[in-house]
Each structure stands twice: as structure tokens, then as C-alpha cells.
């Protein structure tokens, strides 16, 4: 698959490259650990995005943190890491701890919410947050604010009515929304031919009169260029755009899934050769930006940090049953609440 980056936006500086690499490593190690913790019976459930790291980190680096709005999905561990969420915070969610910043232990792990970073709360209901992205972007436009909204989802999500209604609305009003589809070829067990008769999710854009762009989601630099271009188009008033990043998940769908039932091992192995982290490492090493020794040291550090974060998060206090009925409605002074006027 050819990289189809539109123009060369946002050249990536050496420092940034190393940060990106580190973020991918952290996300991978953290995600692997979350699965292990589940298998050990220490965590009820895990859902992660091993394999999707490149496009996720690319997206985080294409937006302006705290300015642009981000509506990620459960696979976006690496996106959140790259935005600055601490592994400990993600693990607090895994263990359903009281201090889980995403939901206070109410939601499954990796159901993100981070107001300061404009990461908007989402449910488990596939595609249901796409209209929210359109609404946020409409508000940006109405209020004359230079903000872009990025919403990510899988290719399965594009089958839902909410996908259609949201992209259609955004297209009609030319809203600054980047619709980012992380196409990993499967919605749980269903391969993408069961979701659509077109070859690429990007083809869906044609029905809305907007640009659809496919990119190799396992190529960090290509993905970053394409996403930066998309964000740029939105800022230039030429949004929305639909970006499809072709990728693959290395894990089962969740800790409750057994992907051997539906994915041929050869296919998994074939994609393993295109591991986005390995590819980026090779590139960095080829550029002389990373020596094998530095790499080994970095990976050891990351491993240690995650292990520490696990220990810390697991020891944190559980949710208090007495808080179960809190925050069904706003409590307190309604002038303080977010969102109104």
C-alpha cells in the first residue's frame, strides 16, 4: 500500500521522533501488561491497541493539545500516552480504582475522559460519539474559535447510522473535523468485507462530497503527515476530512476474545512483520538517531516504569460503595458546571 501523504506538513524533529518512539514503547508495554494482569486474574477486563500505535501517536502529534478536541476510542492507548496521560492513570481505570481519572472506576478501562486535554467522555456504544464530534466542531465554528476536532473509530463503526449522520452533517457545514478510522480489518471477528462493499473506508467519503484519504497506519511518519494535512485542511476551512489508517491489531479484540477462532495465524504473522514500532526503530537506527544500546536502555526503563505504575495503581484505594449514587445529576452550584453558556 502506497503512502499517500498529501503534501509534507509538520516535519518531525529528531527530539520529537524519539518522544514518539518512546510513547509507542510505553503504550505497547502497558497494553501487554494489561492483558497479563487480566490473565493473572488481577484485572477483570482489558482492551488495548497493540499494533495501532503509529497512527495513534501520529494523531496526538498532529493536534494542538488543549486546543483541539479529541474523541478517541478504546484502542487509543498510545494516543493517550502521547497526549500525556500517565500509565498509572490508565491502570487506575484497569483496576477500577476510585482515583481513575477517566471515570472514577465506573467505566471499563480505556474509556477515555480528560477535560483539561479536551478528551471527551465516551460510552462503549460504537459510533455514538461521532455526532458529538460534529456538534463540538459546529460550536467551534459558531463561536469563531480556531479549533479542530479529531474523532477516531474502527472500520466497523462506519456501518452505524451515526457515522453517516455525523459525516453528512459535518460535510454540509464544512466543519473542522478529522474523522480518523483505524482500519484494522476486523470488527471483533468480522472482516471488513462484512462491513462494506467498497475496498477502502476512505471511499465512503465520496458519498458525502468530502475528501477521503488512505494512509499506511503502521508508518508513523506517513501517518503523521497525513493527519497533519487533515488537521491543516480543517484549520483552513476545508474540512471535514475522512482519514483511513490501515493497520492491524496484534491482540485479541479484548481479554474476553479468542481471535484464533477467526484470524488465520499466517495473517497475524504477516502483519507482525509490519509492526509499527519495529519499523520506526529500524528507521531511527538507519538515521543514526538511536543506537541499539540506547534502545535497550530505553526499553528497560519503560519496562521498569510500567512495573512501578502497576504496583502503585493496584495498591490504590478501591471505589467507595457509598459513592455509587453520586453524580447522577449535578451536585452543587450550577454556575460552575461545564458546557453551559
Amino acid at each position: 500500500m502506497a503512502i499517500q501523504a498529501k503534501g509534507l506538513e509538520a516535519p518531525v524533529e529528531p527530539d520529537q521522533r524519539l518522544r514518539m518512539y518512546r510513547d509507542m514503547l510505553v503504550a505497547r508495554e502497558l497494553s501487554d501488561r494489561m492483558f497479563t494482569l487480566n490473565r493473572q486474574g488481577r484485572a477483570a477486563f482489558a482492551i488495548t491497541g497493540q499494533g495501532h500505535e503509529a497512527v495513534q501517536v501520529a494523531a496526538a502529534h498532529a493536534v494542538r493539545p488543549g486546543v483541539d478536541w479529541i474523541l478517541p476510542y478504546y484502542r487509543d492507548v498510545a494516543m493517550m500516552i502521547a497526549l500525556g496521560m500517565k500509565p498509572r492513570d490508565i491502570l487506575l481505570g484497569l483496576f477500577a480504582k476510585a482515583d481513575d481519572p477517566n471515570s472514577g472506576g465506573r467505566q471499563m478501562p480505556c474509556h477515555w475522559s480528560w477535560p483539561e486535554m479536551r478528551v471527551v467522555t465516551r460510552s462503549s456504544v460504537i459510533a455514538a460519539n461521532l455526532p458529538h464530534a460534529a456538534g463540538i466542531a459546529y460550536a467551534s465554528k459558531l463561536r469563531g474559535l480556531d479549533e479542530v476536532t479529531l474523532v477516531s473509530f474502527g472500520e466497523g463503526a462506519t456501518s452505524e447510522g451515526d457515522f453517516h449522520e455525523s459525516v453528512n452533517f459535518a460535510a454540509i457545514h464544512q466543519l473542522p473535523v478529522v474523522f480518523l478510522c483505524e482500519n484494522n480489518g476486523y470488527a471483533i471477528s468480522e472482516s471488513s468485507e462484512k462491513q462494506m462493499a467498497v475496498k477502502h473506508v476512505a471511499d465512503r467519503a465520496k458519498g458525502y462530497g468530502i475528501i477521503g484519504q488512505t494512509v499506511d497506519g503502521n508508518d508513523l511518519i506517513a501517518a503523521h503527515q497525513t493527519l497533519s494535512w487533515g488537521v491543516g485542511e480543517c484549520r483552513r476551512g476545508r474540512g471535514p476530512v475522512l482519514i483511513e489508517a490501515k493497520t492491524y491489531r496484534f491482540s485479541p479484540h479484548t481479554s474476553s476474545d479468542d481471535d484464533r477462532r477467526y484470524r488465520p495465524r499466517e495473517e497475524v504473522e504477516e502483519w507482525a512483520k509490519r509492526d509499527p514500532i519495529d519499523r520506526f526503530r529500524t528507521r531511527l537506527q538507519g538515521e543514526g538517531a538511536l543506537t541499539p544500546d540506547d534502545d535497550r536502555a530505553l526499553r528497560d526503563t519503560v519496562k521498569r516504569e510500567i512495573a512501578e505504575a502497576v504496583a502503585g495503581a493496584e495498591a490504590a484505594p478501591d471505589c467507595d460503595p457509598a459513592d455509587t449514587a453520586r453524580y447522577v445529576y449535578f451536585e452543587g452550584d450550577s454556575a460552575q458546571q461545564r458546557g453551559a453558556g
Partner: protein, 326 residues
């Protein structure tokens, strides 16, 4: 004071809030031309097409977009053209709006208003007459209101717009032009939650809401002629219910009839009866009666059959007499 219809009240509440809140947006289908019931009449010219937003014909996104707007500093008031067409938006209302604050542990709020013209008696047939309020009143996280008078319609819509949480606002189509009140010219709010005693009487209590309150009041009037004095309690807010007012009235009179035009089974009446049967049991002097539409999927277009579905002052009065005689 000025004479206003129920529809004027709704229109004016939005208009005045639009003037006060520069980022308030009304959105829905045919909003710009004034709306099929004219609730947004004149707003396009006054507030412009960006704040008076014609959406595509797509209810799920109407609510979903409103939710998004509310996150980014706007105050959205979404119109679902008829409550009957709210079902495509149920996922956005129930999975998203209602659970927004709870699931984010109070980090995010979802201050949206979803207006839904509902109710029968206008020959609307099966898909322009439904009363779907009980479905949403079962959903914690939502507030559900159904004002019965122009005064409340205005005051509660303002309260809804100023509320930090999602409010589903049921406005009765038959009330639009049939009901008139003298309304204060100054800004006022009718708070969400408290029910309202519309009439006091010691012999029995009739509990209702929406347009049916007026049928109940007429029936109560008629019974007063025969010396039976009844309390008529207008719930006004269907979620959360005003348990205190319900229990007070039930205890005071010992006999309760609940009336609504939604179908009987699983309706608001069931919940109200259950609250009374649990918490005012010792004060009850008679079975708790319910009068509601029969359990048909929706009211027929045929006038004869629609009338057969709707409680009326005659059938209410008859039920009241039975109860009084118990």
C-alpha cells in the same frame, strides 16, 4: 401581564433565552421556517441561521450534535418534530446524554434540552399522537418534564435551558392553541421537580400531568357539584418525581386516581401507584385506581377510535365517583 397561548409561552421562553445567551442554539427539522408548530417563528430573522439551525432529517444526530455543542460552550435546545420520531434518537438520549455526567464521575456535564411535541387529540394518527414519556422517566440521569399550562410551559422551559443536566421537555400538541394564560412580562422560572396542587379537596386525589390535567379539573368541578371534593395534583415533572407531594396528597385523601393518556401498562401511573402503595399504605382507604389509554401500540387515526383511547372528563368523573363511593 399578557395573554399567551401554551405555544407562545414556549416560543417566548426560547426567544428570551436566545437574547440572554449568545451561544444558545435551537436546532431541528424545519426550525428556520418557524417549525411545523411555529415554536421558532421569527427566530431565523432575529438570530440568524447559525443559531437557528435546520438540521438534516436525522434525529440521532440532532440529539448527538446538541450533546457535542453543549461540551463546547453552546446551549442547545433540540426539537424532535414529534415525540413519535424520538426513537431513532433514543441511543443518544439514553446511552449518551443520561449517562454523561455519571460515567465521567462529574468531569463532564450534558446541559441540553430536547423538546418533544407529544400527545393525542389532534387526529394525528399512530405516529403523530404518542405519549412516550414513561420510557424516558425510567432513565436516571434525565430530567423529564411535561407542563400543563402556558405559565409552567414558559417557566419550566427556562428552567430546563438553565439546568446543568439533560432535560426532555414534553409539550402537548393539543395544548398549543387550546390553552391561554396571563403571563408575567418579567423573566421567571418554574423549577423542575415540584408538583403543583391545582385544586384542593379532601375526598380523593386525582394525579395527572400534561393536557389531561384539564380534563381532570373539569371532572373535579363536576363532582364538586355533587358534593365530592377532590385534590388535583399536577405532577409537572415526571423525573425525578415529587414523592413528597404525591404522598402528601395520597395521605390526606386516602383515595387516589391516576390519569394519563399514555397506555396503562408500564406508564407513569404504575410508578406513582407503587410509591403510594409502599409509602402511604396505612393511610389508604381504597384501591389505587389508574385510568389511561388501553394497551394499544399507538392511537388510531380514526377519530372514533382515538376518542375511545383517551380518558375524558366523563370517564374520569365516572372513575372518581366509583372511588369516592368505595
Amino acid at each position: 401581564m399578557s395573554t399567551k397561548t401554551y405555544l407562545d409561552a414556549i416560543h417566548d421562553a426560547m426567544w428570551e433565552e436566545m437574547e440572554r445567551l449568545p451561544t444558545m442554539v435551537v436546532l431541528g427539522e424545519d426550525i428556520q421556517e418557524g417549525g411545523v408548530f411555529r415554536a421558532t417563528d421569527g427566530m431565523l430573522a432575529k438570530f440568524g441561521k447559525d443559531r437557528v439551525l435546520d438540521t438534516p432529517l436525522a434525529e440521532s444526530s440532532i440529539v448527538g450534535i446538541a450533546i457535542g455543542m453543549a461540551q463546547n460552550g453552546c446551549v442547545p435546545v433540540a426539537e424532535i418534530q414529534f415525540a413519535d420520531f424520538a426513537f431513532p434518537a433514543f441511543n443518544q438520549i439514553i446511552s449518551e446524554a443520561a449517562k454523561w455526567r455519571y460515567r465521567s464521575n462529574n468531569a463532564w456535564g450534558c446541559p441540553i434540552v430536547v423538546r418533544m411535541p407529544y400527545g393525542a387529540g389532534i387526529r394525528g394518527g399512530m405516529y403523530h399522537s404518542q405519549s412516550i414519556e414513561a420510557l424516558l422517566a425510567h432513565v436516571p440521569g434525565l430530567k423529564v418534564v411535561a407542563p400543563s399550562t402556558p405559565h409552567d410551559a414558559k417557566g419550566m422551559l427556562k428552567a430546563a435551558i438553565r439546568d446543568p443536566d439533560p432535560v426532555v421537555y414534553f409539550e402537548h400538541k393539543k395544548a398549543y392553541r387550546a390553552l391561554k394564560d396571563e403571563l408575567p412580562d418579567d423573566d421567571y422560572v418554574v423549577p423542575i421537580a415540584p408538583a403543583q396542587v391545582r385544586r384542593e379537596g379532601g375526598d380523593l386525589t386525582v394525579i395527572s400531568y400534561g393536557f389531561m390535567v384539564h380534563e381532570c379539573l373539569q371532572a373535579a368541578e363536576e363532582l364538586a357539584g355533587d358534593g365530592v371534593e377532590s385534590t388535583v395534583l399536577d405532577l409537572r415533572t415526571l423525573a425525578p418525581l415529587d414523592r413528597t407531594a404525591i404522598l402528601d396528597a395520597a395521605r390526606r385523601t386516602g383515595k387516589v386516581l391516576i390519569v394519563h393518556e399514555a397506555n396503562l401498562t408500564g406508564g407513569i401511573g404504575g410508578e406513582v401507584a407503587a410509591i403510594i402503595a409502599e409509602h402511604a399504605f396505612d393511610d389508604l382507604d381504597a384501591p389505587i385506581r389508574r385510568l389511561a389509554a388501553p394497551d394499544v401500540p399507538a392511537m388510531p387515526f380514526s377519530g372514533a377510535q382515538e376518542d375511545a383511547c383517551l380518558p375524558s372528563k366523563e370517564t374520569i368523573a365516572a372513575a372518581m365517583r366509583d372511588l369516592a363511593a368505595y
